[in-house]
């Protein structure tokens, strides 16, 4: 089980939760597990079957694009951070 941080912009799609547990041996599998349980997330995270370019995913503080992307292995108890771009400054 990995912990997944849900950013405020995506919380409406997961019933307001800030963190969720998800199963999977890779980052891609963890996200797929989430999307299966909360289908509206798919449109927010994926674009044409790939991780959308305006969404960053971090494992151990590193952007998975600098690791092995969605194939990056996830150990039990690790935290995945989902981070879509956020513009507010008002």
């Amino acid at each position: 089980m990995a912990a997944v941080r849900i950013p405020p912009t995506l919380r409406a799609d997961v019933g307001g939760l800030r963190e969720l547990e998800a199963r999977g041996e890779t980052v891609g599998a963890v996200i797929d597990d989430l999307v299966e349980r909360y289908p509206p997330l798919a449109g927010q995270l994926y674009s044409e079957g790939e991780l959308a370019s305006f969404v960053n995913v971090y494992l151990g503080g590193e952007d998975i694009r600098t690791l092995d992307g969605l194939d990056t292995p996830v150990d039990d108890g690790e935290t995945v951070i989902l981070l879509p771009a956020m513009a507010g400054g008002v």
């Binding site: 405020p8 800030r18 305006f54 960053n56 952007d63 771009a85 956020m86 513009a87 507010g88 400054g89």
Partner: protein, 391 residues
């Protein structure tokens, strides 16, 4: 009990000395020592050896480790005639400084030889009082305070983030603050935009901010830009010369515009963004790390971008993130400490947690990468019905 003369003679036996002429030769060599001036403030103000650091004899032991953390660095200590600095040299050796020499004949002899002297710029007595808590910090001190007074910072947005950032920068004595905002003060702003007040309802935000800042600190010159940042005016505004940009915009088009312009103008950006209970802050320093497009290459499509007006924000959150932006800005100006360049700070006000993720420069970045594909401004569709540059 030894007399002063005996004590001085004894100390001089324990330390090494260097003549003005030999010290002057060293000053122009590749491994020049650092000069440490231990005279009184009025003596320092009448001129000092170029590049010298300054700590009065009375505060030397207290301040030297902040001024010179590297104890192996060669030091030449001086006062006016070489006596006070003899005691200082001994004390520095006792503190573990490995290579300390006393300037024989002191500054008087240096001047008599006609060697170069730097005249320090002097703070007025009002400034000395106002910035006294900065002057006490070795990392700031008089030189740092002068840097702040000389600095020019451009704030994009006089809203939630721009309010605390500009107030703290003004209080710190940052000499010139440019503020870009096309909006007027609205009642719904006052829950968090603390630079404005009930009295300024309906007034352009840049003018309300200017009034508040000038009341806070008359040393600060505010340059108001009552306009929206666009691809048309950004080169003109950035071209006026800024040391740091504080990005407190509320929309993606402005953020990308500010990013691309800052890369092309070579100006660091202190980035902050907020949404409900969460905030982010980082520093984008062109040439020394990633830019905003390395973090997010392009904005989300408008239908997926969070709606600013509906999103809401806890009033104190911009206070926290905007203050972090002021902190980063001050460090960039002072060239002290570690900035957030390469690190994105994630603050969650509900859980009171602070996380950090790494942000790396992307060699394929369309703007700051090795082969840029974006070479002119992109006018993105405006989101949230917020015109560019409003906040």
């Amino acid at each position: 009990m030894a007399s002063y003369r005996e004590l001085l003679a004894q100390v001089k036996e324990e330390i090494d000395e260097i003549s003005s002429t030999a010290a002057q030769d060293l000053l122009t060599s590749s491994d020049a020592p650092l000069f440490v001036d231990v005279r009184e403030p009025d003596e320092w103000q009448e001129g000092h050896i170029p590049g010298a650091v300054y700590a009065t004899r009375g505060r030397l032991e207290q301040q030297i480790e902040g001024l010179v953390p590297d104890k192996s660095r060669p030091l030449v200590v001086y006062c006016s005639g070489g006596s006070r600095s003899a005691f200082a040299a001994k004390s520095l050796a006792e503190l573990g400084y490995e290579d300390v020499v006393n300037l024989a004949g002191g500054f008087t002899d240096w001047k008599r030889n006609g060697f170069e002297v730097t005249m320090p710029r002097v703070l007025s007595s009002e400034q000395r009082a106002r910035y006294s808590r900065h002057l006490l910090i070795p990392e700031v001190g008089e030189e740092g305070q002068q840097r702040l007074l000389d600095a020019r910072v451009l704030l994009v947005g006089a809203g939630g983030l721009g309010s605390p950032a500009s107030l703290y920068l003004a209080a710190a004595g940052v000499g010139t603050l440019g503020i870009v905002d096309a909006d007027v003060v609205d009642e719904s702003n006052l829950q968090r935009q603390i630079i404005h007040s009930t009295d300024s309802l309906g007034e352009p935000k840049v003018l309300s901010a200017k009034r508040t800042i000038e009341a806070l600190n008359p040393d600060v010159r505010v340059l108001p830009y009552e306009e929206r940042l666009t691809s048309e005016n950004i080169d003109r505004i950035l071209g006026e010369g800024w040391d740091v940009i504080v990005d407190g915009a509320d929309n993606f088009p402005t953020r990308y515009l500010v990013n691309d312009a800052s890369v092309w103008h070579g100006i660091p950006v202190v980035h902050g963004s907020i949404f409900r209970f969460e905030g982010q802050a980082t520093v984008f320093s062109p040439g020394n790390g990633p830019c905003y497009r390395c973090l997010f290459p392009q904005p989300p499509p408008p239908e997926l971008a969070p709606s600013c007006a509906e999103g809401g924000v806890l009033g104190v959150l911009p206070g926290i993130i905007g203050s972090l932006q002021a902190n980063e800005t001050l460090k960039l100006i002072l060239d002290r400490g570690e900035t957030l360049a390469g690190r994105l700070l994630l603050f969650d006000a509900l859980g009171t947690t602070l996380d950090e993720v790494n942000v790396r420069r992307d060699p394929y970045c369309p703007v700051c990468g090795d082969s840029p594909t974006i070479t002119e401004y992109v006018d993105y569709v405006e989101f949230c019905n917020a015109p560019v540059g409003r906040s």
